[in-house]
Symmetry: C2
Subunit: 253 residues, 2 copies
Amino acid sequence: MNSDKFYMIKNFKLIIEYDGTDYHGWQRQRNDRTIQQEIEQALSTMTASRVTLNGSGRTDAGVHAFGQVANFLCPTDLSEAVILKGLNSLLPDDIVIKDCRRVDEEFHARYDVKSKIYHYQIINRNVPSAIGRQYAWFVKRKLNAAAMRSALSHIFGSHDFKSFEGTGSPRSHTNRNIISADLIEQEDGSLTFKIEADGFLRYMVRNIVGTLVDVGLGKITPAQFGDILESKNRKKASATAPAHGLFLMEVKY
Amino acid sequence: MNSDKFYMIKNFKLIIEYDGTDYHGWQRQRNDRTIQQEIEQALSTMTASRVTLNGSGRTDAGVHAFGQVANFLCPTDLSEAVILKGLNSLLPDDIVIKDCRRVDEEFHARYDVKSKIYHYQIINRNVPSAIGRQYAWFVKRKLNAAAMRSALSHIFGSHDFKSFEGTGSPRSHTNRNIISADLIEQEDGSLTFKIEADGFLRYMVRNIVGTLVDVGLGKITPAQFGDILESKNRKKASATAPAHGLFLMEVKY
C-alpha cells in the first residue's frame, strides 16, 4: 500500500501584525533576521515543504505592521484554522498571524494591491515617553499642526513623488496617487499622520513626515512644501523620519 | 580662600514615567535592577551627594507607571529645570522624569498620599497582539464585560480587602476605600480596568483583575465575586493577573 498522499495546491492569504523593533524589515535576507523568513520557516515546518511568501511589499528595518498581507501556495491538507493556530504557536511573540484564509489561486498579495494605508506616530511634548517609546518618534519642540495640515493639501491626487523617494528603490516610475492624507491631534499631545495611496516609493512616508515636521517647526512654509514636491529633487526635502514611528495599517485589494 | 559652598537643603517632587518590563520593580534591591536605584544613582551623580528617594509606594516587578511620584531632600544649587534635564539625559530611555518641582520641606511622597489611580489593560480577541504586547494581558476567550462591571459594584466604598491581598505585605490593616472603579471597552476589543483608592494592598489590583476575568469568563458570578470579598480569604479569589498589564497612572496629594 502506498501511503503517499497528494494534495491539491491551495492559495492562502495571511494578515500579519508585527513589532518591527528587532527585525531587519520584511524581506528575506542572507544574514539578518526578517519577518518573511520567520514566517516562511514556520510554514515550512508545518507543511514539511518549502514555502515562499509573497508579501504586499517590503517594510524597512524597524517599521511595524498591524495589517501586512501575504499569500503562499502550498499543497496541504491543513485547514485555515490549523494553519493560523500552528503559525502563532511557532512564531516569536512579536509576529502574530491575525487571519488565514484560502483564496482564489489567482490572488497575489503584491500584484493585486489596490491601495495601502500607513500611519506615522509622533510624540510631541516636553519630555520623551518611556511607555511606547518603540512606537513613536519623539519631537520635543512644539509642532504647528495647522501648518502641517495646510502643507498636506499639496499632495492629494496624482503626483511624481521623486522628491520623497529613497535612493536605490526598484520601481518603474515615481508617480503615485494619494487617496487620502490627514493629521490627527490626540489629547495627550501626540500626532498621527494617516496616508492612503495606490502605492508608495521607498522611504516615501518617512520622507514626507520628515519634511512635514520641518513645516511644523516653522523651518519650511506650507507653500514651500508644495515647491519641494514639484521640484522632483530629493535634495530639497528634509531628512527621513525614523522607522519606529511607521505602521503599515491595511492593504486593500 | 575657602571654595566650599553650603546650600540650603531643598525638597524636590518628581513625576516619573517608566516601562517596568526590564526592572525588578520600584524598590531598591541588593542584586537586581530597580527604578528607584537608577534614579538615585543619577541624582547622586548630578548632585555629588548621596540622595535617597521616597517613592509614593512600591510597584512590583514588571509593573509600569505613567505617574509615579517621589521626593528627595538635597542640599543643591541646581534648578528644577536643570535637574529635570540632567536626570533625563542620565537615565535609560525606559525611565523618564516628566516633572521636577521644588516643594515644601514637609512634603513626603508616601506619607501624604490621598489616593492613587491604577489602570489594567486586557487584550481580548482571537489572537494575541504583537504591537504593545508588553503593555496588556492577552485573554483569548471572549469576556462578558457587563458581568464584570456588575461584579465591580461590590467593591465601592470601604472594605477589608484581605481576600485580594498578596502574602508578605507590610501593612497595619487591610481596609481600603475604593473611590471609583470602572471597566471601559475599547473599539479594538480591549478592556481597561480603572480603579482609584486611598491605598492598595500588595497585588490588590492584580488579584481583583484575576478574579474579575473569571467573572468575565463565567467561572464566577458577580454575586460570588461579592462573596469572595466578604470571605476575607485569599484562597477564595482567583490567580493574580500578570504584572505587565498594570499601570500606576496618578498619585493624588
